[in-house]
Symmetry: C2
Subunit: 355 residues, 2 copies
C-alpha cells in the first residue's frame, strides 16, 4: 500500500499526511484532533504561545483525540535591533495605526526563556511528536525528547540544512520547498539560495540523508501527495490546504483570500515579521516593499505589526492582514479537515490503481 512506510509506522498514523504547525491561532484543537482522527498527524502551531496557554491547549487536544499529534515550536532568535531602527519602522507603521485607532506598542524584550519553558511542557505532557522551525535543537534537547518517547521532527530548506538536522539526531525532516506559504524555515543558508522548488528539493535531499523526508510546499491534493512520495518523500506536510478547512482558526480574510486567489498572488515579503514569508499580495506588502531591507529583524518587526494585523482583521480590512498562502491557492477548498484527507486518500488510491 502506498501509505505504509517508515514514517507512518514511526508516527503510528494511517496516512502520510501532516498538518503543518502554523503559529498564530490557525491550528485549533478541533483542527488538530480532526486531522489526527482522520488518520493524519495534526500539529499545534505553538511558536508564539505562552507556556500556560500552550499547556492548556495540549490538554484540550488530548481530550479530543487519542491519536498521535504534534507540537511545533520555534528555535529562539535574539536579533540585535537598535532603538533607531525601531523608531524608523514605527514611523512607517504610524499611518496604519492612526487609521485603525491604535496606540504605539511598547517593544518589550521577547519573553526570556520562552523556548525552554515550552520544552519543559512538551516533556511534561509527553507530546507524541515535537517539530522545530527556524533552527535545530541541541543534541541534548533531542535526546531528552527521545527519552520521553517523543518523535523529533526538523524543518529544512536545503540539503545542507537537512544534513544538520540528521547530525543532531532528528528523527525525520520536513523539506520546505519554495512554493510553501508562511514563513521560510531557512536557518543556515541565505534566504535566496534556499528558495528551492519542491520538485528539485526532495530527490536531491533523499539522496543525501538517511532519515526519512517529508515534502512541503505547494501540495494540496492527491496528485501532490503521490508526486511527493514518487520523488522519494515518505510523507507530506500541508499548511494552506488546512487553513481553509472548516475547523481552522485562521481569520476570515485569510480564508477568503486563499479561496479566491491564483498562483500569481502569493509573494514573498518580510514586511509583516522581519523574516521572509509567503502571503497573498495586498496593500500592506506593496506599501512596505520599498523599505523591506531596512526593517528590524524577526521577531521585532512581528511584534511591531502584530496589533495592526489583528485590528485590521477585526475591522475587516484584508489589505493590512497577513494572508499567508502557498503557491497553489487554486486548489484550496472550504471543507472539513476529515473530508480534505478523505478526498486525498481516494484520489491517491485511484491514481495508483489506474496508472
Amino acid at each position: 500500500m502506498w501509505h505504509e512506510n517508515e514514517i507512518t509506522r514511526k508516527l503510528d498514523i494511517q496516512y502520510p499526511i501532516i498538518q503543518a504547525g502554523m503559529a498564530g491561532g490557525t491550528t485549533t484543537p478541533e483542527l488538530i484532533a480532526s486531522v489526527s482522527n482522520a488518520g493524519g498527524l495534526g500539529t499545534l502551531g505553538a511558536g508564539y504561545m505562552n507556556p500556560k496557554h500552550m499547556k492548556q491547549t495540549i490538554q484540550k487536544i488530548k481530550k479530543l483525540t487519542n491519536r498521535p499529534f504534534g507540537v511545533n515550536v520555534f528555535i529562539s532568535e535574539t536579533p540585535n535591533v537598535s532603538e533607531k531602527e525601531i523608531e524608523k519602522a514605527n514611523e512607517l507603521l504610524r499611518p496604519f495605526r492612526k487609521e485603525l485607532k491604535l496606540t504605539e506598542p511598547k517593544v518589550t524584550k521577547p519573553l526570556t526563556h520562552l523556548f525552554e519553558k515550552q520544552m519543559e511542557i512538551i516533556l511534561e505532557e509527553r507530546v507524541p511528536v515535537c517539530s522545530f522551525t527556524f533552527g535545530v535543537p541541541s543534541k541534548e534537547e533531542v535526546q531528552q525528547l527521545k527519552q520521553k518517547g517523543t518523535i523529533v521532527m526538523g524543518t529544512a530548506t536545503t540539503v545542507k540544512e537537512a544534513m544538520i538536522n540528521e547530525e543532531h539526531g532528528i528523527d525525520m525532516v520536513v523539506m520546505q520547498g519554495s512554493e510553501a506559504g508562511g514563513h521560510r524555515g531557512t536557518f543556515s543558508a541565505s534566504f535566496d539560495k534556499a528558495m528551492i522548488g519542491t520538485m528539485a528539493l526532495i530527490p536531491q535531499t533523499v539522496d543525501h540523508v538517511n532519515i526519512p523526508v517529508i515534502a512541503a510546499g505547494g501540495i494540496m491534493d492527491g496528485r501532490g501527495v503521490l508526486a511527493s512520495l514518487t520523488l522519494g518523500a515518505q510523507a507530506v506536510q500541508m499548511g494552506t490546504a488546512f487553513v481553509t478547512s472548516l475547523e481552522s482558526g485562521a481569520n476570515k480574510q485569510q480564508i477568503e483570500a486563499i479561496l479566491t486567489s491564483t498562483e500569481e498572488h502569493p509573494v514573498i515579503t518580510s514586511a509583516f515579521s522581519g523574516k521572509p514569508a509567503r502571503g497573498i499580495q495586498n496593500e500592506f506588502i506593496t506599501k512596505m516593499a520599498p523599505y523591506e531591507r531596512s526593517l528590524p529583524g524577526y521577531p521585532v518587526q512581528h511584534t511591531l505589526t502584530k496589533q495592526i494585523r489583528s485590528e485590521a482583521a477585526k475591522q475587516n480590512r484584508p489589505e493590512w492582514v497577513h494572508l499567508w498562502s502557498g503557491q497553489s491557492p487554486r486548489l484550496s477548498k472550504r471543507k472539513s479537515a476529515a473530508s480534505i484527507i478523505a478526498d486525498i486518500v481516494s484520489q491517491v488510491d485511484d491514481l495508483v490503481k489506474y496508472r
Copy 2:
C-alpha cells in the same frame, strides 16, 4: 503503460521526454538525433540562429534521425533602449573586455525579420514540431504550421499564459516551473509573480486548460518524470539533464559547473542578457548584481555581453561565462543522451512496478 498518452501519440514518440531547445550551441544535431533515436523528442534551440545556419542544421538532423524532432524559436522583441543606457552598460562591461583583450562591439539592430525568415524555413522543411518561447505566435502563424503537419508547442509560466497559448490554437504547452535553468519564458505576467514551483504549477494548469501539459523545471530523473505525470502532465521537458550529456555542445565550463554544483548555486540573473535567467552564481553575476535593474533589456544586453562570454569560455574563465542550470544540479550525470533516457525509463518502470 505509463508512457502511452495523448502527447506520445500526437508526437509519435515512445517516451514522454522532451529535450529542451536550448539556444546558443548546446543542442547539436548529434544530441537532438540521439534523444529522438532513443524514443524522446530532441529539439534544436534555434532562437539565435541565422536562417542559413538554421536550414543547414535542420537538414543535418534529418540525416541523423528519421524520428520526429522539434525546433525552438523565440518570439521577437524590440526593446526601446537609448544610446545612453547602452553607454552605461558598456561602462560596466569595459573592465571585462579589457582583461579579455576584446574591442567594443557595435550594437547593431537585431536582424530584421529574423523570426519571419526562421518561420519560412520551418514551413519549407516541414519540421515535425515547432516550439515557441518568450511569447505566442499569432493564430495565423499557428494555422500555417498546422497545415504543414507541424505540431505547435508553446511555453508558459502561469495558468493565464497557458490559457493564452490554448486560445491561439497551440497543440500543447510546456509549463516552466521556477526551478528551470536558463531564461524564464514569462511573456505576459510580471517576472516575480510567474516564479511558480513545478509542484504548484502543473496541477493548477491542467485543471484550467484542455490542451496537454508538459512539465519543466528541476526534473532530471525517473522520479521527476513520474512525479510530473502524477501531477497531471503528459510529458516532461528537460534542459539541464541534457547539457551534461556527451553529445551536448555546451562549453566545458558550464558542464563542469553543473556537475559540481548543489541546489544552492543556481540563481536568477538578468546580467547576461537583460532577461531573467537561472544560472550558477559566479563573479560576473555578483559584480553586475547592483546594476541589474538599470541594464538594457533583452536582447540588447545579450548582444553586449556575447563576446565577453564566448571569449571567457575560450580563455577558460568560468567566472564570466553564463553557466545556465536548473535547481537540481546534484542529479546531473556525464553520460550519453541515450543512456540518460534509458536510465529514466527503467527507473520509472521500477517505481510503477514496486509502488
